[in-house]
Symmetry: C2
Subunit: 199 residues, 2 copies
Amino acid sequence: MKHTPALARLIDALRVLPGVGPKSAQRMAFHLLQDGRDGARALTASLEAALEKVGRCRRCRMLTESEFCFICSTPQRDASLMCVVESPADVVAIEQSGGYRGRYFVLMGHLSPLDGIGPEQLGIREFEASLEEGEIAEVILATNPTVEGEATAHFLSELVRQRGLKATRIAHGVPIGGELEYIDGGTLAHALAGRQSLL
Amino acid sequence: MKHTPALARLIDALRVLPGVGPKSAQRMAFHLLQDGRDGARALTASLEAALEKVGRCRRCRMLTESEFCFICSTPQRDASLMCVVESPADVVAIEQSGGYRGRYFVLMGHLSPLDGIGPEQLGIREFEASLEEGEIAEVILATNPTVEGEATAHFLSELVRQRGLKATRIAHGVPIGGELEYIDGGTLAHALAGRQSLL
């Protein structure tokens, strides 16, 4: 069965959302046009407003509506610590853990030469400018533990060390609450290699 | 961590989509503002166009961009058969099965007095008008096999029978490819009660 043109275009456009395939896109389109019309109007309005207002922090590239993001403009944050992450969602996750008081640097991706994503696209100029400001003592590389994330962390660590600063990587190991039996081999190997002496 | 106002509004607005909770809404918002900006612009444009252009078929209430939907305007369809469904997605599913050549009537919901959804909201006037046109011989009630769907089917079947027309309900039973061992009791009871003699 063929959808009408406007409906087909809407279903197609909804597939830009992460994790939305053809079936969910159809379900969403029907819902928006069926009994979600008010919500649909609110959605277009807020998406347009966000596209216009939300930009990136001049220092850390986090999403923000001002020149500097909320974290960069809080003087209580430890300016000697910089945590490098791949996406704004990682910042939210680390903030929710409550265990970090430094600043961030958001790459908005990872090195991926085949997709044309090199250092330039990850804001390497802002990154180096931050390092040269002289406030930072340690850079925590918190990219994802994937092949691309590891390569990105390695690349950035070189830049950090060249300037005589400390580069660290977040610990990889068995998650809290996890059961050894169900943890993959790579994680277990990391957990063993990274073992720490009990005090 | 608090989101900026425009971002918070966007995350909130995205939750109008079916099956999208706070976490997926955040992920979608970040994706749209991070590297999906072109897609986001296409999404607002197509959603606005769809809201403006897509209305309901005058006869069967299916989503359409003209006065009558694609199915109602195809003369080859059997006008003596009407299949009543809860949503446009059900029409798509039945059309894809390829086993039906009649027309439809889309309720856009089911009876749910607590939510203020009575016969009026389900287009009962258009439904009765269709019955009175004189072309229909059989009404197939294909609402979902839920409590509300059954109640809606029962209510509509009364209206159909009052006019001396045939009202039927789609068969409920074991799905093709299903294993008896894993089918719930209600379905099994239906499958047994609805058994048919082998020819």
